[in-house]
């Protein structure tokens, strides 16, 4: 699968990682084109169904990004995100999909970290190969 290009979906918190992605852009930090961003107000808005549906749709990797612990715009939303993501990863482990979900904290000032996170995740997922549900999703 040398020509495999993974489809990556990233959930960004409006206050930190979305602005971090903006900063990466303003700074012209180049990274792979595989990533698409969905903006939410807080990473804690992301529900298991969003992740499961994305996987069902054939998305190869999903990043959930939020503010660093202690910096949440809504005080402790990211703590809930952290707890929920651990549970979702546990559930995904049974499905053999756990490596396709990653949680990262990226602040509004960390354009470089955003670039590095996406680049690294794309490489990891590229090595992992396509989401086994992808072919079925493409048929539908």
């Amino acid at each position: 699968m040398s020509d495999f290009e993974p489809d990556i979906l990233t959930f960004c918190c409006n206050w930190c990682s979305y602005a971090g992605a903006d900063l990466a852009g303003v700074s012209r930090l180049q990274y792979p084109t595989n990533n698409r961003i969905i903006r939410v107000m807080c990473s804690s808005r992301v529900e298991p169904i969003h992740i499961l549906e994305a996987l069902k749709e054939g998305t190869d990797g999903i990043l959930v990004t939020g503010c660093h612990i202690g910096d949440c715009h809504y005080i402790e939303g990211n703590i809930h995100t952290d707890e929920r993501m651990k549970e979702i990863v546990d559930a995904l482990e049974h499905l053999g999909l756990k490596d396709r979900l990653r949680l990262e904290w990226v602040s509004a000032a960390e354009g470089k970290k955003f670039q590095e996170t996406i680049t690294d995740f794309v490489e990891k997922i590229r090595a992992l190969g396509p989401n086994p549900l992808k072919e079925k999703a493409k048929e539908e």
Binding site: T33, R36, I37, V40, S44, R45, I49, H80, E110
Partner: protein, 660 residues
Amino acid sequence: MTEQEAITNEESEELRIGAFICECGVNIAGAVDCYAVADYISTLPNVVTAVVNKYTCSDAGQAEIKNAIKDLNLNRVLVASCTPKTHEPIFRACVEEAGLNQYLFEFVNIREHCSWIHMWEKEDATRKAKELVRMGVARAALLEPLESSEVPVTNKALVIGAGVTGMQAAMDIGDMGFKVYLVEQGPSIGGKMAQLDKTFPTNDCSICILGPKMVEVARNENIEIMSYSEVEEVDGYVGNFKVKVKHKPRYLNIDECTGCGLCTEKCPVEVPYTEFNEGIGTRKAIYTPFPQAVPLRALVDKSICIDCGACIKACERGAIDMDQTETFSELDVGVIVVTAGYDVYDPEPNHDFGFGFYDNVITTMEFERLINASGPTMGKVVRPSDVQPPKRIGFVQCVGSRDKNSNIYCSSFCCMASLKNAQLLKEKYPETEVYIMYMDMRTPFRMYEEFYNRARDMGIRFIRGRPAEVTENEDHNIIARIEDTLTNEIVNLELDLMVLSVGAVASESTETIRQILKVSKAADGFMMEAHPKLKPVDTTLDGIFIGGMTQGPKDIPYSISQGSACAARATRFLAQGKAMTEGITAKVDDDICVACGVCVPMCPFQALSIEDDKLKILTALCKGCGTCMAACPTGALDQSHFKNEQLLAQVKNVFAYGEV
């Protein structure tokens, strides 16, 4: 029925989406084929028109949107351009002017998140842009009109930190007729500027120009100074902040104390430490911070007080109260200005240039107090090891600045500060040899370069290079070994005193306040502004502003300008008396909700409660984070504008799999 309601409230109406793709000159068009994006988008369901604009945000671009809304009867508008962080309000206002509810507008970022990060991959960038817009179209189809609510604004302001920036902000807000609480953690207002000897480029005496300003602040009827106090908690939102302030005990009644100093005179406890003089000299257990302090009131250092009672006997007004405890105030304010200042870089932990090892290596702030006429030596410059006047003095620039081992940023004021201190030395002691060891001398702004030239004319020696090795000889003289990169010579400079020109770092109190308020932190550790150019004193939080060193290193004129800027920006809310809040709050479907209460503890703002077996949402408290609905086991909770079906539409439509 208004025109707007007619457009948005008909549920049965067909969806008519208009998409506007911005080229942003070549910013987007350089990497994305915008016409190909428009062609693709026009094939998607419900898209009535897809057009390319040179600049969608220009007058012409906005006019095109408004005309299309009317001519084509659009009921959803999508703009694919830059970031909603700067441009969403502009386009929302634009569609509202054309009679469309602002929440029926969808923004897609194809600049910061596409063209700028894929500058040399036009094909892939174009495919990505198509998919991003496709995702936006899917979401746009499900958008619903919402109402922003207008909230009244408490017409009072809080200014946190009473250095020169905070003083300026408080005075400007006060002069505009609004009540200001000016909270300062130290026992006096004035900040770091009060400690400086002279100020560049005019060499005015710092306290001589600051002192009257401090008195003016105290005299301003609209300003209530809360010195020796700290902000502990902040709750609420723009227009309606609730603030808890802790007043630390001074162990005397501030209304009775006159600052006469009799208590200090009688106090038998003297310690070799002073906050105001950067540790140099001594002070008593009961003391006034400095002669020009505002308020000019004493305080007791309980950690060294021996409870002898001498001060109590000495005080004619009976002001001293050793049983005082901390007290708290609850303030209601509409806006908050943060001017919490900075700390100077501490060279002690790394022993930069021998600091901490050798007595005769000191910092700029220590030097400021040594050369100050009201300082611990009455302005006589002496070196610490033998209290003798130094004959050879060297300043080392960029200590804690422009250094990968500490901070990479330039602290901006230190070149000028050393030029100033070098000039003062030359004026006071013309025979002294003065050296400045530097990487680059940075002297922008009016009269600064002239100031540098003046220093050269005075015979101050500039060595381009910083000491590679610092040692001390038997006379406690400092030997600095430097490569002068202009002459390619190695110089062994023997100095009687070496002054480290230390830079600025974000203060601990800035970090504490930042965490309380949830203001973003920039990479350098200081607070982050909403936009580096367009909104330099705003934060991403409505009603909260930052100025002066809290936002990053800067000099006095720049800080004062920011203080005034904060006042102007903040007072807009106070003057209007109202603010708009977003309609993106939590909503519950009572038919589905089983009142299990799982969501209730999730809310950090106490907006949820179970009453009479029903979930009650206090919309005014809801900030629209979405934490609660992600926890809802029944799916009864949802978030307006970030509804489950809207997010799922994005998830399901993101990748087109060969379609594009």
